[in-house]
Symmetry: C2
Subunit: 302 residues, 2 copies
DNA sequence: TAAAAATACTCCATAGGTATTTTAT
DNA sequence: ATAAAATACCTATGGAGTATTTTTA
């Protein structure tokens, strides 16, 4: 009773048998199925042999369905109905936009980009449905690999060759300091690194990127670590130190704490946002369309 | 959406796809199905192409099921389950005795033979189930031809070549006369034909057989026609005429009316009982077994 | 480097075709 | 005589095989 033993009959044989029942004759059934009568007869005979049951009584003028035949033909009809259902489901699924993309987004991007992204999607790709999930980079990559995500919006270019990626854009970092802080105008990295630097917890790529832009300068990191950008800015506002924000977060975060933001004198202080997806994903087309929309949304946010 | 268009995929392809899902790999799936990996890969690829949907994402170390794939594979599993059900039903149906034979019996035989036949069947073929239907000869033949009966017990040898038949036995006729009738001992056909002869309605073969045994003697038929043997005997008892009964009916019928029965001097006055069935019936074996039992039951009734 | 799937081919089993015969009405 | 299925035989599609290459972890 193992599920992978070969079945001794084919869907086509079932169709042929049903056509015989429907038409009451092998010749007419053959016509209905678009094959020659001997071909159909042979297949039905095979089916009967495979099942060990006589489905039809052949007479020269008519064909009768046997009693067991009637029962079996009924089951055959149901088998074919489910089989045909497959075609229907497949067609529906193959319809463009029928699939909801599951997209992971890192927490330092999600709250600031998604509102704009949602608007842009509604305008430019109204049929494209996206289900956003807020996950850190490592979690995104794992979920993508497991097939639980169709794409991920992260700030590090994925390195696995099985993951394709496309650059969505670059966004500058800005320094964020307490309102009362003496620094004004533009700041340089050396000055920043000299301050008590507040950073996010481990796992947030922004933490690593902030340290990265400081390069090999000696950084004075605060013993406190924020769990989110919201907290981070509030902590800066409370005078616990200074920090770095992606510019897209400024409008939302800097407004609700006693802080000021300062641009950098240095060039290239910021991060690149990428959209990554499994290279073999069947939704590559949709993902690329999503990427296109996100790029424009990002560019406009500038 | 015509029901007889060829399906673009095969049951085997569904099995292969399910094996891939089950094992998480094409190689392992191939092993499970007992085929070579390229063969299985090719079939799954065909299936995907036929459905226009990518079921799996191939990676060098693993295979992921796509989201639509999961839905479709679920349907495929159901399709295969119903298909497998066919095998089971067929096996159960192929079991000997699983079929209840539908047997038509003419009304002038049914009430007298069936009790004995039922006993004999219970003894000699306890697994053989028979559903008896009381029908006149023409109705039996029509129902048999339509496939509504598996066999018929009649008193005329069927003439169509598509109906096989076997002789169950011969039973003598006896004359039945009012208790007060002057005739005694054995009677001859000439004497019988000279009486007012009561017969059954048209359609009963016994009517024809009675006339037939009288051959070309001039018969004086009563204007009354009985609808059944019960009525016939009661009418004889009422003095409306004389008649003829098959001997098997005597014990039951002659006991409940003021009549006497008389044997015939002539030889060969009686009828032959036959069991007929469609020559191509799949239940020929069972029908022959039924015939065997009925023959002995008939012989013992003598 | 190793594991897994795809590719390239060869082969043959079999579904399907045509022509004909058989069968029963 | 005719309608319908079975039979005989041929063809060719395509499923399955082996050997090999490609891919990526």
């Amino acid at each position: 009773m193992h599920r992978f033993l070969q079945l001794p009959f084919t869907l086509r044989q079932l169709q042929y048998a049903l056509a015989v029942q429907e038409t009451g004759g092998f010749g007419r059934a053959a016509e209905l199925c678009g094959v020659a009568q001997p071909s159909l007869s042979a297949q039905v005979a095979k089916l009967e042999h495979a099942l060990g049951v006589q489905l039809f009584e052949r007479h020269s003028r008519k064909v009768l369905v046997t009693e067991v035949g009637a029962v079996l033909l009924d089951e055959m009809a149901r088998t074919l109905t489910t089989a045909r259902g497959l075609q229907g489901t497949a067609e529906a699924s193959a319809t463009p936009y029928a699939h909801t993309l599951r997209v992971g987004v890192i927490p330092t991007v999600a709250p600031y980009l998604l509102p704009a992204a949602a608007c842009a999607l509604a305008e430019q790709a109204p049929g494209l449905k996206v289900h956003w999930l807020e996950l850190q980079t490592a979690a995104c990559e794992a979920a993508l690999a497991r097939g639980e995500l169709d794409a991920m919006l992260i700030a590090d270019a994925p390195s696995q060759p099985s993951v394709d990626h496309i650059k969505l854009g670059w966004e500058p970092f800005v320094a964020v300091v307490p309102e009362t802080h003496p620094l004004t105008g533009r700041v340089d990295l050396d000055t920043l690194a000299a301050q008590e630097l507040l950073l996010l917890e481990d796992g947030h790529c922004l933490r690593d990127h902030t340290l990265a832009v400081c390069a090999d300068r000696q950084v004075r990191e605060s013993p406190y670590r924020a769990t989110s950008l919201v907290t981070l800015v509030q902590m800066v506002g409370a005078g616990l130190g200074v920090s770095v924000l992606p510019r897209s977060a400024v409008a939302v975060e800097a407004a609700r704490a006693p802080v000021r933001t300062l641009g950098f004198r240095d060039h290239g202080v910021g991060r690149t946002l990428w959209l990554g997806w499994r290279a073999r994903s069947p939704h590559t087309r949709l993902v690329r369309e999503l990427a296109r929309t996100l790029r424009t949304a990002l560019a406009e946010a500038d």
